[in-house]
C-alpha cells in the first residue's frame, strides 16, 4: 500500500511538532524515519495511526485521500502501529489480546491465523501465555501479529529496538523483511543510524519538526545522514566558558554493573574527579538516568562497587543532590511555596518567626527568581521553577546530578541556570548532567561521557571533541574506539 503524506502540520500550543511534511512511502519496502529526540517522528506516526488528529494536510492511500483522526479509521484503511511501550492488556493471554479489538473475526480463525503468522515470521510465541509473563520484545511480536491479523497493510514501529535483546532484534528485523516481501509497507522509526543502514530501503530524516531534504534510497553515507539529523552545528561554536580544574577523585567505580528493568550498563570501572562539570551525551534512554541515579546512591549496582569519597556508597546522600527530569512531579511539591519548601528542608526553620522567610528572600535575590515567598511553585514559569530548585540545593552539596538542566527553557533562562551551576562548580561542587541538546553538552562540559546502545564511553576531554565528532559517537559511528 502506497502512502502519500501532503503538507502535514501539527502543533501543541506554541510548539510546532510537525511543519509542512510531505513524503511518500512505497509499498513492499521498509522505510526508515530518522531523527533526534523531539524531531517530530512520533508525532507524525501518531497522526498516521489516528492517536493524534491532523491540524492540516492530507493523507492518501494508493492515490485515494483518506480521513484519519481516530485509531478505528486508521485501522479500517489498514494502518497499524506498534508503540514503544506496546499497548496491550497484561492480564490477558496472547490470544485474548488479539481477540480484544475491532475488526477481528471469530475465535478459531484467530488461533489459526496466529499460528500461521507465528510460523511465517519465525516467532516462538505460545498463544496461551499471559502478556505479563512476556518480555517487551515478545509483546512487540504479539502486537505485530495482531496488526497483521486485523489486515494492516502499513505497519508502523516506533523505536522498536529500545529495551529488547540482540536476539530479539535479529528476529524482529527478519520478520520485518518478511512482512515487506509480502507487499506490505513498513515504517521503522528510530534514532539509531546503524539500524537504518542494516534494515531499511529508504531513509527520511526529520529535524525540529521539518523534513530535511527528501526521502533517499539507501545506502546513504553516514556523514550525510548525520549532517541531516544534527545540522551544521560547528558554525555556531563559541565557547566562552572557562575550564574547571579537577581536584581529587570523588567516585571510584569498580567493575560496576548498573541494571534497570530494560537496561544494563557495564561492567565497567571509572574514576571521576571532583570540581568539574561532566556532560552525559547520547540519545535519551541510553542509560544516562540509570547512571546518574547510581552516582547519587539512589540505586545500588547489580554487582561491583561504587565508592564515594573513599567510602562505599550505600544509599542516597544529603550532599549528592539529584534533580530529575520531571521536576514538577518528582523535584518539587507543586502546590507548596518556597517558604514551605525551605521549611521542609531545614527542620529547625519550621518556626512561627521569620527565619525561613528571610532565607527565602535571600534565595530569591541570589537566584533571580521571579516569585514571592508564598506563591505555589506550580504557578511559576519553567525557568523560575528550575532556578527555585537550584536555590533549594544546600550549599553543603558536594555534587549536583541533573537531568536536562534547561529543557523547555528559553535561551535567557537557560543561560542564567548555567551561570548558577558554574558558580557552584567554581566553589567546588561537582556537576554531572545529561541533556539531549548536543550544543549544551559541548558548551558547558569539562568532560563528556557518551552513551550508546547499552554501553558508555571513557571520560572524554571536551577539547578532544567537536560537535560533529560527538554527533557521530551518539549515532554509534566510531563508538567502539572510545568504549569503556
Amino acid at each position: 500500500m502506497h502512502i502519500s503524506i501532503r503538507n502535514l502540520c501539527k502543533a501543541f500550543g506554541n510548539v510546532v511538532a510537525n511543519n509542512d511534511i510531505s513524503v511518500d512511502f512505497a509499498a513492499g519496502q521498509i522505510h526508515g524515519i530518522l531523527g533526534e529526540n523531539g524531531a517530530g517522528k512520533s508525532t507524525l506516526m501518531k497522526m498516521l495511526s489516528g492517536i493524534y488528529t491532523l491540524d492540516s494536510g492530507a493523507v492518501a492511500i494508493n492515490g485515494n485521500e483518506v480521513l484519519l483522526g481516530a485509531p478505528i479509521r486508521s485501522l479500517q484503511v489498514g494502518i497499524g502501529m506498534v508503540g514503544q511501550d506496546p499497548l496491550d492488556i497484561p492480564v490477558f493471554t496472547i490470544l485474548q489480546n488479539i481477540a480484544a479489538g475491532a475488526q477481528i473475526a471469530g475465535h478459531t480463525q484467530i488461533a489459526d491465523s496466529f499460528a500461521a503468522w507465528n510460523a511465517l515470521l519465525g516467532f516462538e510465541l505460545q498463544p496461551h501465555l499471559r502478556i505479563q509473563q512476556l518480555t517487551v520484545g515478545q509483546r512487540q511480536q504479539v502486537e505485530i501479529i495482531r496488526l497483521l491479523i486485523t489486515g494492516s497493510q502499513v505497519l508502523i514501529l516506533d523505536e522498536p529496538t529500545t529495551g529488547i535483546s540482540a536476539a530479539q532484534k535479529d528476529a524482529l528485523f527478519g520478520a520485518l523483511r518478511t512482512i515487506a516481501r509480502e507487499g506490505k509497507t513498513v515504517l521503522f522509526v528510530t534514532h539509531k543510524l546503524d539500524e537504518v543502514a542494516a534494515l531499511c530501503d529508504t531513509v527520511t530524516v526529520l529535524r525540529a519538526g521539518s523534513l530535511v531534504g527528501t526521502q533517499a534510497q539507501m545506502p546513504v553515507a553516514k556523514d550525510v545522514i548525520l549532517q541531516a539529523m544534527f545540522g551544521d552545528r560547528s558554525a555556531q561554536a563559541s565557547f566562552t566558558v572557562g575550564h574547571h580544574h579537577p581536584n581529587g577523585t570523588l567516585w571510584h567505580l569498580n567493575d560496576v554493573v548498573m541494571q534497570s528493568a530494560n537496561l544494563r550498563l557495564g561492567p565497567f570501572s571509572q574514576e571521576i574527579a571532583a570540581g568539574q562539570i561532566i556532560g552525559l551525551a547520547g540519545l535519551e534512554g541510553s542509560g544516562q538516568t540509570l547512571y546518574l541515579q547510581h552516582l547519587a546512591g539512589m540505586r545500588l549496582p547489580r554487582s561491583g562497587s561504587i565508592r564515594f569519597l573513599n567510602r562505599q556508597l550505600v544509599g542516597a546522600r544529603h550532599d549528592a543532590v539529584y534533580l530529575p527530569a520531571d521536576r514538577l512531579h518528582e523535584g518539587i511539591i507543586p502546590s507548596m511555596s518556597l517558604v514551605e519548601h525551605v521549611q521542609l528542608l531545614h527542620k529547625h526553620l519550621l518556626d512561627p518567626g521569620q527565619t525561613a522567610r528571610q532565607k527565602v528572600l535571600q534565595l530569591i535575590r541570589d537566584y533571580n527568581i521571579k516569585a514571592t515567598p508564598d506563591i505555589a511553585l506550580e504557578l511559576l514559569s519553567g525557568g523560575n521553577q528550575q532556578r527555585a530548585m537550584l536555590a533549594l540545593i544546600p550549599e553543603s552539596a558536594r555534587v549536583i546530578l541533573v537531568e536536562h538542566p534547561t529543557r523547555g527553557l528559553d535561551a535567557y533562562s537557560a543561560e542564567s541556570i548555567w551561570h548558577r551551576l558554574q558558580e557552584r562548580c567554581t566553589r567546588g561542587t561537582t556537576v554531572v548532567f545529561f541533556s539531549a541538546d548536543l550544543e549544551e553538552v559541548m558548551t558547558y562540559s569539562d568532560a563528556i561521557i557518551v552513551f550508546y546502545g547499552g554501553s558508555l564511553s571513557r571520560i572524554l576531554d571536551r577539547d578532544t571533541l567537536t560537535e560533529q565528532s560527538l554527533a557521530r559517537l551518539i549515532g554509534g559511528v566510531g563508538f567502539a574506539e572510545v568504549m569503556q
Binding site: D88, I89, V91, F92, A100, G101, A102
Partner: protein
C-alpha cells in the same frame, strides 16, 4: 432436616435482590466504572417500582420503571464520571445520599400501602423432586431469573467476545482505543445495564421479598453489594457465593436471636457486616508483599489457591479515560 431445607430455600429467595445488585455492580466495574450509588439507586428504584405497580396494579410495569430509574441514576454517574472525568467515588456517594432522601420524600404516600406482588410459580414436575425441588423450584419467576442470570453474566464476561472487550476496557482503555474500540460507549453501556440490574434489585424488595414501601427499605443492602463484589474478586460465581454466605450469616444471626442465646440483638444484627470487613481485610492482606514472599515458599497447589483468592481489581477501575492522553 425439614427446617434446614426450608432455610436453604429461604436463603436462595432472600439473596435475590443482593444477587441482582452485585451483578449490576460487577458489570460496571469490569468496564472500569464504579457506581457507588447502589444503595440510593435501589431505594429510589424500589420506591418508584412500587408506586408504578401500585398505581397500574401491574407488577411488570413496576419492574420496568425500577430498571429505568436504576439506569438513569447510572447514566448520571456515567456522564459525570466518564464524560466529565469527575471522581466516580465522590459522584456515586453523593448520588447515593441524594437518592436515599429522594426515595423517602417522594415515597411518603406509599408507606405501609399494600400493592401487587410477584406470585409464586413452582415449576411443574421439578418442584416435586424431594429436597432439591423445595430448595430450588418452589419460588417465583423473579428468583428463577436471578439464578439464571449468574451463569449468563459469568459467560458473557469471561467467555464472550463483547465480554473480553468489556474487560479490556476496564483493564487498559487506551489499548482498546488503539484497537478501534469506542471506550466511552462500552463504559456507558456497561454502567447503564448494571444500573438497570441495580434498579431491579430495588424492586425485588418492594414487589417481592419485602413487599411494600418503608423508609430505608433496603436496610443498607446496596453498600453490602459493593463489598461483596470486592470479596468475590470481580468474578460472578464467587460473588454469588458471597451473596449466599452473607444471607446465611443473617439467617444464623436471626436464628440465634429467636433461640434466646443471651447475646444482645445489636451484636447479631451487625455481625454479618463485621464478618464481611474481616474477610475483606484477610483477602486484601494476602496481596501484600510480605505475604506474597511467603506464598512462593508453600506447595504449588496452595499457591494456586491463594492466587485464585487474590485475583486483582480491574486495573483501570474508577480512572477516567482520555483518548488524547
Amino acid at each position: 432436616m425439614d427446617q434446614l431445607v426450608l432455610d436453604l430455600a429461604a436463603l436462595i429467595a432472600m439473596s435475590t435482590p443482593l444477587l441482582l445488585a452485585t451483578l449490576g455492580v460487577l458489570i460496571g466495574e469490569r468496564a472500569g466504572v464504579i457506581n457507588l450509588s447502589v444503595d440510593g439507586s435501589m431505594l429510589l428504584a424500589g420506591m418508584v417500582g412500587f408506586a408504578v405497580a401500585f398505581t397500574t396494579q401491574n407488577v411488570v410495569f413496576g419492574f420496568v420503571a425500577a430498571a429505568v430509574v436504576g439506569a438513569l441514576v447510572a447514566a448520571v454517574v456515567g456522564y459525570l464520571g466518564i464524560s466529565l472525568g469527575l471522581s466516580q467515588t465522590a459522584v456515586g456517594f453523593v448520588l447515593a445520599l441524594l437518592c436515599t432522601d429522594l426515595s423517602s420524600f417522594l415515597g411518603n404516600p406509599y408507606v405501609q400501602q399494600s400493592g401487587p406482588a410477584v406470585v409464586a410459580w413452582p415449576i411443574p414436575v421439578l418442584a416435586d423432586i424431594p429436597i432439591l425441588g423445595t430448595i430450588l423450584f418452589h419460588h417465583d419467576p423473579l428468583i428463577y431469573a436471578g439464578l439464571l442470570l449468574v451463569p449468563a453474566v459469568a459467560w458473557y464476561i469471561e467467555r464472550s467476545r463483547p465480554g473480553l472487550i468489556l474487560r479490556g476496557v476496564g483493564e487498559r482503555p487506551e489499548a482498546l482505543y488503539a484497537r478501534g474500540i469506542d471506550v466511552v460507549r462500552v463504559r456507558y453501556t456497561a454502567v447503564i445495564i448494571g444500573g438497570a440490574l441495580i434498579g431491579l434489585a430495588g424492586a425485588a424488595y418492594t414487589l417481592d421479598l419485602k413487599q411494600g414501601w418503608t423508609y430505608r427499605h433496603t436496610a443498607g443492602t446496596g453498600w453490602i453489594a459493593l463489598a461483596i463484589v470486592i470479596f468475590g474478586a470481580w468474578k460472578a460465581y464467587r460473588i454469588t457465593f458471597g451473596c449466599y454466605l452473607y444471607a446465611a450469616l443473617q439467617t444464623i444471626a436471626s436464628r440465634m436471636q429467636v433461640n434466646d442465646w443471651n447475646v444482645p440483638t445489636q451484636v447479631l444484627q451487625v455481625a454479618p457486616f463485621v464478618v464481611m470487613i474481616v474477610v475483606l481485610a484477610v483477602v486484601n492482606s494476602l496481596s501484600t508483599p510480605a505475604v506474597q514472599t511467603w506464598i512462593v515458599t508453600i506447595p504449588a497447589p496452595m499457591q494456586r489457591l491463594f492466587a485464585y483468592i487474590t485475583s486483582p481489581a480491574p486495573a483501570s477501575l474508577g480512572k477516567p479515560f482520555d483518548p488524547a492522553g
